[in-house]
Each structure stands twice: as C-alpha cells, then as structure tokens.
C-alpha cells in the first residue's frame, strides 16, 4: 500500500524528471523537491494561518482570564478553552494537521531518493521493480548517473582538495547553515521571550541544524541536496507569504526598526 501509493509514484516521477533533464540526478532531486513543495503549498499556508491564529489567541483577554481562573483545574480549563476555540472559530489542530499530512510525503521522498540511488545489485533489482515500464525504459535508464558536480549522490559527500589529507563535507556545512537560517527566519516574534514556547523554538533552532547536519554527514549526499533544496524553497515560500523575520538573522534590521518606532513615538 505504502509502496504503491507513495514510493513507486515518487520514484517514477523523480526518474522521469531525470530523463527530461539530461540524466542529471542532482537536478532531478532539486526539481522534484520544488514540485513537492509546490503541491504541498496550500497545506503550508493553512499551517501558517493556524499557527498565527493560535499566536493571536495567546494575547486574547478572554484566554488570559481563563488561564488565570482555572489554573488549578486542568479539566475545567480544557473545557473552557474548547468553548473559546468554538466561539472564535479557531481549530486548534489547524497548525499541526498539515504538518502531519506532509510527514508521509517527506518520508516517501526520503525513501524514493535512497531507493533510486541503488548501489548494489539487490538495490537495483528492487528499484527496477518500482519502475513503470510504460513510462520509463530500464535499458536506457540504468545505470543512473549519480554524479553531481564533485559528488557521488549515492555516498556521503566529501570534497577532496589537493594538499588537505581529508575530505571536507561542504554539503554538511550548507545543510547546517540553511536549516539554521530557515529556522530563524520563520520563527515568529515571541509575545513573551521568556515563555516555554519561545524557549522550545530557540532550542529547536539550535538542535535541528545539528541533527540535519548529522544526517547529511552520514547518509547519501543525494539527501543532503534534498535538504538544502527543501530549506531554500521553504524560505522562499515563507518570504512570498510575507512571513519571514529577517531581523532574526540580521539583528541590525531589528535595531533600525526599533529606532524608527522610537522616532515615530517622539514626534
């Protein structure tokens, strides 16, 4: 079921793109990532709107009153919160549901890339079984060209520079930086920087790049290409929706903004 609905269509799409772009698997991964991002864009918009509504709610007077009034009675608090959600027309799952829907797509994409980069005969046999014979011709497709610039997309990437005795993991650096920048850019300004949600977001912004960097260091570089393309596409999507907080990455913008506000107030 998982294979038929997710993995096989993904593999065929990525390989079809591969044939269209002159047998370049790196470009195929990037275009496929953009395609997936485009398809899941409406879900992302809903997620952002849901998150924004929840954030606004934290400042709502009624909400704050309820928190204070029923802080010793969790059951009653939950009941009152649900009533307020209903009254304001907010779906508390609106921000996480689209993420949950996207999860199988992300896992499917991960598996499709790994399967497409078959590096042994058994892997290749498995890959061939996923190919739609009506769409793609195995004889002209195999072997896949897994070279992309200096990388073999089926192996972890290391750039060998003459004179340096070890390979430098350039993609790992790019994955860490792009994950960190994306995390910072899309973090909404916290209503109260000391609250637990803000602290969690800050922690995520530190641990997530390390986690992604570890995966990029140990797994096939094709996945690192996917991570980078996905991060950049994510930043672009948020920027197009006007949800990017440039001041989180460039603090001088924040200072300039604050100076503007102060100036306005004084005049």
């Amino acid at each position: 079921m998982w294979d038929t609905l997710i993995i096989t269509p993904f593999i065929n799409t990525i390989l079809f793109i591969y044939t269209l772009v002159g047998h370049n698997f790196g470009i195929a991964i990037i275009l496929f990532t953009l395609l997936i991002r485009l398809i899941t864009h409406p879900l992302m918009v809903r997620q952002i709107k849901g998150a924004q509504a929840m954030q606004q709610l934290q400042k709502n007077e009624k909400w704050l009153k309820i928190q204070e009034k029923y802080k010793g009675d969790k059951e009653k608090l939950a009941k009152e919160q649900m009533a307020l959600y209903k009254e304001l027309g907010i779906n508390p799952f609106a921000s996480c549901l689209p993420t949950i829907i996207q999860l199988p797509i992300i896992f499917g994409l991960y598996q499709a890339i790994i399967l497409s980069l078959a590096s042994t005969p058994v892997d290749l046999l498995n890959l061939i079984r996923h190919i739609y014979p009506g769409l793609l011709k195995v004889e002209s497709l195999i072997p896949l060209n897994s070279r992309f610039f200096w990388m073999d997309l089926g192996s972890p990437e290391r750039l060998l520079i003459p004179g340096i005795p070890f390979g430098i993991p350039i993609l790992v650096v790019l994955v860490v930086v792009s994950t960190y920048v994306q995390g910072k850019l899309i973090s909404p300004p916290a209503a109260n920087p000391k609250d637990q949600t803000a602290a969690m977001t800050n922690m995520m912004n530190i641990y997530m790049p390390i986690f992604m960097g570890y995966l990029a260091y140990t797994l096939a570089s094709g996945l690192a290409v996917y991570f980078i393309a996905s991060n950049l596409a994510g930043i672009l999507q948020y920027a197009m929706l006007g949800r990017v907080n440039w001041a989180n990455v460039f603090p001088f913008l924040k200072k300039a903004e604050e100076t503007k506000i102060v100036k306005k107030k004084t005049t």
């Binding site: 590096s119 042994t120 892997d123 046999l125 061939i128 089926g154 637990q196 995520m204 797994l219």
Partner: protein, 351 residues
C-alpha cells in the same frame, strides 16, 4: 526546562538512529558470497568472512574476529594459499585461509568490491565499483588498471590471454592481460549485472538489463547471436555441453542451444529466477528468489525442490557431493544440503 531540553536531545538522537538505520536497511545489502575448497566453505556475509568446516558446519575462524563496520558480500576467492575478499569500504584483503589472519590489504580503489576477483597466471584481476578493473601481483601491488564508464559489478572471465570484463556502462571489454590495453569492446545495449560465461571454444554468453542474451566471439567481440526476452534476465547463464540454462523474472526457466539461442525446452516455475543455476551430476538447480531451489534433469524433468527461510540470488555452490546454499535476509545465511535436497546442517555463527 532542563527536562524538556534533555527530552528534545534524546528525541533527536533516536530519530537520527532510526533514519540512519533505515537508510542502511534500504541500501547496501546483498547476498552471501560462498566458495569452497572441498573441506572448507568460505562465506562473506555482512560484517564477517567465515571459514566453516564442510563435514560438520563448525566455524574454523572468522575475519575480523570481533566484527567491525566493514561489510562483506563478494565471494571469497581461494588461490595460492591466499583467500582474497573485498569489502564495501574499498579494501581488498588477502587472508591466510587456514587462520583468517590478514596478510595484505589493497586500498587504492575508491568503490565497493561487489564482484569477486579472478586469478589468472599469478595475476589478481579485481573489478571495483569505482569503474576500474585492477590487475594486482600476488603480493597486492598494482600492475595496471583498466577504466570503464560505470561501476563493475560482475566478475571477469579469462581464456589465459585476455580478460573479459562486463560493465554497467553496457559494454563488454576484452583486455590484454600483459599490459591492460583494450583489445575490443562491444555495446550490448544494456547494463550487465552478472558475469559472462565463457566456453572452451571461445564464445562468451552474457545477459543484460536490456532483457537480452548475447553470444559474443571472444577473439573479435562480434555478436554471433542475440536473443530478446519479454522479461528481465537477472542471471548468468550456466553452460553444459551444447546448451545454456537460465531463468527469467517471470518464472520461466530455459534450456537453449549455444548455436543460436533457440529453445530446447522451457517450463514455468511461477516465481522469479534470480542468479546463475548450478550444474551438478547431470542435474540443473535453479535458484528462486523467494527461497526455493528447484532441481531438474538436463532434459527438464523435475527432480526435487526445497524451500529455505530467506531469499536466493545465486545458485548453490558444489562442494564434493553436496551443495552449500547462501541465503539472504533469512534467520540463517548458510545451509548444506545433499545432492537430493536433503538437509545436512545449518550454520549458526557463535555469538
């Protein structure tokens, strides 16, 4: 707050381990490589190379003794009191076949050793995933290397003068053993996974991913005949006198003439046939992917069949009057059976 930070770190560690192991599971696996000298079976599977006594299935040694990150799948090759075996980490080892002690390691290749080396005229011919065929002296020093366009997954064959190497780049190459120069190359129309089979009268028989079987003149590289099939051929043909034996992924098994590739007999076994059949005592044993061995006579009468727990990607290895079966992904990876399919022993490596 400290607790939630710790939970988050733990969550990331678990996720990293899961994803890393998931990646490993999906990629980088193969079937056990088995060879025999009559008394001992040498098996390369996952983290070890094992030497197992044929008579009772006890382990004589394993390399490395304690295990490590290396992965071994290519069939170990015994020659001149050396056991040659490559891993999936670019190392080609020479081991003492009596003790498993390492003698030398060749580290100049950059890819996986998926195929086994071939030894001809005191020369080791080792195909690597980095697209090169390496020719080494018996002490592991490099003599020459021959580049092709794609990884080499099949073992070469030789007639003592030339070496014939099939590549994933769709070509079959004839290379001069003396200096590694190209004699000829022939485009077969598809990638080659399994080795060619060479006959005594100088004809190479090879199947490709283009679903064809070709007969090629070894002296010139000319295609003598080529036959197309409806289904994928995931096999090296087995040669016996004037006929070839093999099966396809739709479960059809064939006996064809070496003269023109025409059918002598065919029958359906309903399940994908993966790997080279084994010929023993006027009997052909076909490996079925889903863990079955089907034995027929040379004329196609069914003799016996057995089922094992796991998958089969190559035929059993003849050791005296018995057969050693290398099993992939099952509870056990090595089994010894009689020539009538009877169970003799199953190897269980000590902890």
């Amino acid at each position: 707050m400290k607790r939630s930070r710790l939970s988050l770190i733990l969550l990331f560690i678990v996720a990293a381990m899961l994803l890393s192991s998931c990646g490993e599971m999906l990629s980088g696996t193969s079937w056990p490589g088995v060879s025999s000298n009559g008394d001992t079976l040498f098996v390369a599977y996952r983290n070890h190379v094992y030497a197992v006594r044929v008579s009772d299935g006890t382990m004589l040694w394993r390399f490395p003794a304690d295990g490590g990150p290396q992965m071994f799948f290519a069939m170990p090759v015994l020659t001149d009191n050396q056991l040659l075996v490559g891993d999936y980490d670019s190392n080609l080892y020479s081991l003492d076949p009596n003790t498993g002690v390492e003698r030398w390691v060749f580290r100049e290749a950059n890819g996986d050793w998926i195929a086994s080396p071939l030894v001809v005229n005191d020369m080791i011919l080792a195909p690597n995933g980095d697209h090169n065929l390496y020719a080494l002296a018996m002490n592991g020093s490099l003599l020459w290397k021959f580049p092709t366009g794609n990884p080499l997954w099949s073992r070469p064959v030789s007639d003592g003068e030339f070496v014939y190497q099939a590549s994933m780049d769709h070509h079959l190459y004839a290379i001069d053993l003396r200096d590694g120069s190209k004699v000829w190359s022939t485009d077969l129309g598809g990638a080659v996974i399994y080795s060619p089979t060479i006959s005594e009268d100088g004809v190479l028989y090879v199947s490709t991913l283009a679903r064809n079987l070709s007969a090629i003149e070894a002296a010139t590289g000319n295609i003598l005949w080529q036959r197309s099939f409806e289904e994928n051929l995931w096999t090296q043909p087995a040669l016996h006198e004037d006929r070839l034996f093999f099966g396809d992924m739709a479960g059809q098994i064939y006996s064809v003439s070496i003269t023109d590739g025409g059918d002598i007999w065919t029958q359906n076994v309903d399940q994908p046939v993966t790997g080279q059949p084994t010929i023993m005592d006027e009997m052909v044993i076909f490996p079925i992917e889903e863990g079955m061995l089907i034995a027929t006579s040379l004329t196609g009468e069914r003799l016996w069949s057995i089922t094992v727990d796991g998958k089969l990607f190559t035929g059993p290895v003849v050791t005296g009057d018995r057969l050693a079966v290398g099993i992939s992904g099952g509870q056990n990876f090595l089994k010894l059976i009689g020539s009538n399919g009877s169970d003799i022993w199953t190897f269980v490596p000590p902890n």
